[in-house]
């Protein structure tokens, strides 16, 4: 089998990884912010509920969470995963993978957001208050950009981890790149398995450049 054919087939698998990556970010980034607000809430039942949730999600393997989302709804509640979302056909296994990834990454993101928000000096809020700003004005006009600047490095870290974690979806039979590469071993080809590393390296290289660019963009102020 030629190099081109293998590349083409692997690319089809990598497209699955890219879908998991993009959809997870799309939903986990805002969901993480909601969880962060929950874990900083002054209403203690909400605070402890969200903190327990974050503890469970961060304290168990993502692989286990994939199994749970894949099997538990069907076994316990007789619920099957949809094969269509908003009219777009979707493999139910892919749907389960997305749910697990979104929840898992939202929990991690929420802790990064919380750390960022809590690191902003009280004086910034107070300065906004004495200038007659409302709570939302203080958050969006004063605090947010400072938080964004501070969380770019840890978010970059987490997002690069996500690229590689997408291959975990293979445990619930999503046919991502590593699954496909492993299929090649059944016809006696071992090198495609190692070749998959190039795809991940290239993707992470692009992300590294992107995060470097954003960091430089926000270099015009300190604080």
């Amino acid at each position: 089998m030629s190099f081109q054919t293998v590349t083409k087939v692997l690319l089809q698998g990598f497209a699955e990884n890219c879908v998991i990556f993009a959809v997870t970010l799309l939903f986990a980034i805002p969901l993480g912010l909601i969880i962060a607000f929950g874990s900083m809430s002054r209403f203690w039942p909400l605070k402890w509920l969200t903190r327990t949730f974050v503890w469970v999600i961060r304290g168990t393997p993502l692989m286990l969470q994939l199994f749970v989302v894949m099997y538990v709804p069907g076994l316990l509640f007789d619920v099957t995963m949809p094969n269509r979302v908003l009219g777009i056909p979707i493999d139910p296994r892919m749907f389960s993978a997305l749910v697990a990834f979104i929840i898992n990454y939202a929990a991690y993101f929420s802790e990064i957001y919380r750390g960022g928000i809590e690191s902003i000096a009280v004086g910034q809020y107070e300065a906004g208050q004495v200038l007659g700003m409302t709570g939302p004005q203080i958050f969006f006009k004063v605090v947010l950009l400072q938080v964004v600047k501070r969380i770019i490095p840890p978010m970059g870290n987490e997002i690069i981890t996500l690229v590689k974690d997408t291959s975990l979806a293979r445990v619930i039979a999503v046919q991502e790149i590593l699954w496909i590469a492993e299929e090649f071993t059944t016809v006696g080809l071992i090198w495609p398995l190692f070749y998959t590393g190039v795809f991940f390296l290239a993707f992470c290289g692009v992300l590294t450049l992107l995060f470097g660019f954003i960091e430089r963009k926000l270099d015009y102020f300190r604080g």
């Binding site: 004086g123 910034q124 107070e126 300065a127 004495v130 007659g132």
Partner: protein, 261 residues
């Protein structure tokens, strides 16, 4: 009618009673210096006036209007409080400029946000924004930083940052401008430029309350001086009275502890 009347303010943090019934009045255009050792409640008093802390007891009146009454729960809602804050301005010890904005925007931001609530903002947007910018520029030159309009806070010295903070506090034309130890975070050679700016505001008849450790400054600029100890006003009077002829034993002890340095 006094511009500010403060009655019997009390504030505790846990078991620590920081203010134990503080009251005073101020006339328009007066400069009041509040002095005293650290822990005497000076800063907490200023924070109560700016509604950054909620007093447990007492009343605050501006121009005879009841702004705060600890007995009356109804005036505690956040929306009301926000409007009431605008009677006061506060300059912090640690400047607290917004690091992501340049000097101009630090000064103009609050004006812009308030202007957006005006009913005619949409139709007169350009005009209003123009007025805000020229007002901000005028304030920035008033504190002597016309050449730093586009600088970011980290590019400025502490003294320059504090002057921007003063311009920012003046932007909303507060009736009473409060300074919380405005020079305590500055190197000695930078305090002069900040004190000069504050002194220049006196001649434009702003009403000001300055919590300070700069005794020379308090003596020369203040019309009235309050010496606080243990959450109470130990002595008050004109600058000559308090500095020249302190009546209280504690005030005398405070001054002699300063001269021993």
């Amino acid at each position: 009618m006094p511009i500010l009347e403060v009655r019997n303010i009390r504030k505790s943090f846990g078991n620590n009673e920081v203010l134990r019934g503080v009251g005073f009045t101020m006339e328009k255009g007066e400069v009041l210096a509040i002095i005293g050792s650290s822990g005497s409640g000076k800063t907490t008093l200023l924070r109560c006036l700016n509604f950054l802390e909620r007093p447990d007891a007492g009343q605050i009146l501006v121009n005879g209007e009841m702004l705060f009454d600890a007995e009356d729960e109804s005036i505690h809602n956040e929306k009301e409080l926000r409007k009431k804050r605008l009677h006061f301005g506060l300059v912090f010890q640690s400047f607290n400029l917004f690091p992501q904005y340049n000097v101009l925007r630090n000064v103009s931001l609050a004006m812009e946000l308030l202007a957006k609530e005006r009913p005619d903002f949409k139709s007169r947007r350009r005009e209003i924004m123009g007025e805000i910018e020229s007002r901000a520029l005028a304030l920035i030159s008033r504190v002597g930083l016309a050449d730093k309009v586009n600088s970011y806070p980290y590019q400025l010295s502490g003294g320059q940052q504090q002057r921007v903070a003063i311009a920012r506090a003046l932007a909303l034309s507060p009736e009473i401008l409060c300074f919380d130890e405005p020079t305590s975070a500055l190197d000695p050679e930078l305090t002069g430029e900040v004190l000069k700016v504050i002194r220049s505001l006196k001649s434009s008849d702003s009403t000001m309350i300055v919590v300070t450790h700069e005794m020379e400054f308090a003596r020369n600029v203040a019309d009235k001086v309050i010496f606080m100890a243990d959450g109470l006003i130990e002595e008050e009077g004109t600058a000559e009275e308090v500095f020249g002829n302190p009546k209280s034993e504690r005030t005398r002890a405070f001054f002699s502890s300063l001269s021993e340095r």
